[in-house]
Symmetry: C2
Subunit: 412 residues, 2 copies
Amino acid sequence: MKNKIKEAKKAYFEFLDSDTFIKNSIIKTVAEEILKNKKFILAENKKDIKKGKEKKLSNAMLDRLLLNDERVLSISNSCLDVAKLDDPVGTISEMKVMPEGFKVGKIDTPIGLILIIYESRPNVTVEAATLSLKSGNGVVLRGGSDAYHSNKAFISIIQKVLKKHNINENLVCFVDDTDRKIVDKLLVMNDLIDLVIPRGGEALITSVTKKATIPVLKHYKGVCHIYVHKLADLSMAEKIVVNAKVQRPGVCNSLETLLVDKEIADKFLGKCLKTLEKEKVKIVGCKETVKIYKDAKKANEQDWYTEYLDLILSVKVVKNSDEAIMHINKYGSMHTESIITKDIDAAQKFIKKVDSSSVMVNASTRLADGGVYGLGAEIGIATDKLHARGPMGLKELTTKKWIVLGDGHIRE
Amino acid sequence: MKNKIKEAKKAYFEFLDSDTFIKNSIIKTVAEEILKNKKFILAENKKDIKKGKEKKLSNAMLDRLLLNDERVLSISNSCLDVAKLDDPVGTISEMKVMPEGFKVGKIDTPIGLILIIYESRPNVTVEAATLSLKSGNGVVLRGGSDAYHSNKAFISIIQKVLKKHNINENLVCFVDDTDRKIVDKLLVMNDLIDLVIPRGGEALITSVTKKATIPVLKHYKGVCHIYVHKLADLSMAEKIVVNAKVQRPGVCNSLETLLVDKEIADKFLGKCLKTLEKEKVKIVGCKETVKIYKDAKKANEQDWYTEYLDLILSVKVVKNSDEAIMHINKYGSMHTESIITKDIDAAQKFIKKVDSSSVMVNASTRLADGGVYGLGAEIGIATDKLHARGPMGLKELTTKKWIVLGDGHIRE
């Protein structure tokens, strides 16, 4: 395994002088070859589906695993989208001439060799490989064992395309061994691997964080809040709350906890919770909420920490913005929070004091998304505070290095 | 301990709406109070020195530990320098109006609660505390046990100043317990601590990286290279090589390995190694080097990886720039490398393909420094690729969060 990773790192170094033209040509050819090899891909996918049925995977799991004509076309098209993105490598910034006469600045560069550990969606294989290629990185892919044959089919196509372009095929490296111990070994190869991105459930992320000596870019849960301030436009607030809770409750940027100022609680909750009732949302509320809305279940301490990912909403009446902000910083997951208000001071304070990756004013938390933010592609949403925070685009797969241009300059 | 860290995190949240004026006032008052309390500080320092002598610490260690009038003045002045730096928090960037009409951008914010683990220089206590304050962060300081009384004296002064400004004193938190197990507990408090910066030797950094579930900003060794290209100005090359090796050999940005193109090896090394000999530099060389310079010791594989931090230099003759770059990417520590050349293509290729935090053209590796780069203050030099890379200034103690300004915008 170590030798395979060494080869991948070598391929990354070789690829460092590739230009945008070559990178896009590889990615576009991958898109074509995926369509040309559709039969092969679907046949390999059938093996995974068959095994999945024998293993009695849930229907939801089998659906995530399944490829068909339409999905293969969509995977191919997503490659073309990546080819269209701006090359994130090579931009020079902050260049200045120092008093001594030499120039110093920064240049955007690839990160290096990236390990991506993911669960059973075969489209992630192609997405991760093409985004890594476009940003000049090498990639080690460790997909879920349920998608083994599908993943391997895609990798073999990508590696053939690399070879055709005279690029070392190890640049996109597949961890063939489905033994879990292999992952533990990879996670301590900090001399060769520069970053690990685990894409999956909380258990996977916790385990990777614990074991890795490599830096980890991670995405925990989203316990998102909306705070309806006393000076809010209440009909706007209701529209936003309903959208944030109901439009797609199973995702990380959906609303989990609603905070409402005391002054407007009767008026706002009285109407809004009835509207949510029509949308089949169950309410878990504080004492004051239960008084206003009799069908609410009384909330316990744990409920405020909970990411329901379902048609359930925690509701708390607060004294003022200080209490709202304290609640968010204590119970939130620092993902996305929004204040609804017409008052500019309240909005400014909320932006300054809420310590989340996305802080919003008069908008639905559901907008926290790489596509909506105009990033072009989304690798994930990071909940850590370093390097990448919130929606991660292609640029987040790069880093910067310093460049110094001298003319015989030395340290005196 | 957990409760103490919880209090520190709470203090950080409270401090989020502090403005530049308050932050500078605190830092300037710390500078004053340090001078006013000089007697107290020196008396506490004497206890550490006494204990250090009993423990038979080396003279170098005792010197690092020692405070006197001059050093206390210099620590006070360094606070005033921090007060003069621009506030790194609050800058808004990349703000754009999306087609749907809402605005999205980023704002520079503090990172959160930062744990700094360091060895026995008491000035680091003040430096770390004031830089964290200026960037709006909370800080947990774990200094070396040899400097226990000196560190505690400084912390008590800082905490008094915080109190006087009505700021929660737990914002600067001191780990009073010198038991090593405490550190292990801190390193897994990823629900409260956002970043750990170990400042010390390789053993400390490796141990922190292994145990931490918190992100680590680290600085390993510097095995810096200079590559003298065949089209170099050889007298400039010699001047730079001598400066990079001799000016201060004990630091991480000094030269450890010299690579020279075959075509010019005889001419360049013949002269340059004699000059280095006058400066008492010992040479460890490849086969070709030994032929040119008889006093060279023959290098073994391990020598190419070695950070001597001493008047010793590894020298290798290479076929061409590809071999030079391959050597650097294989044996280097990705700290700082420089090419000496008049050829623009060779310089461009070197910048693109060398994967180090600082890449230079016609300059001494000794220039890789926060002060020289104009950062104002240097927290350290990071050798990882994420978040901060190379010299870290105050800005590297901040991160960005997304802000979305809507007018009732929802996800359709």
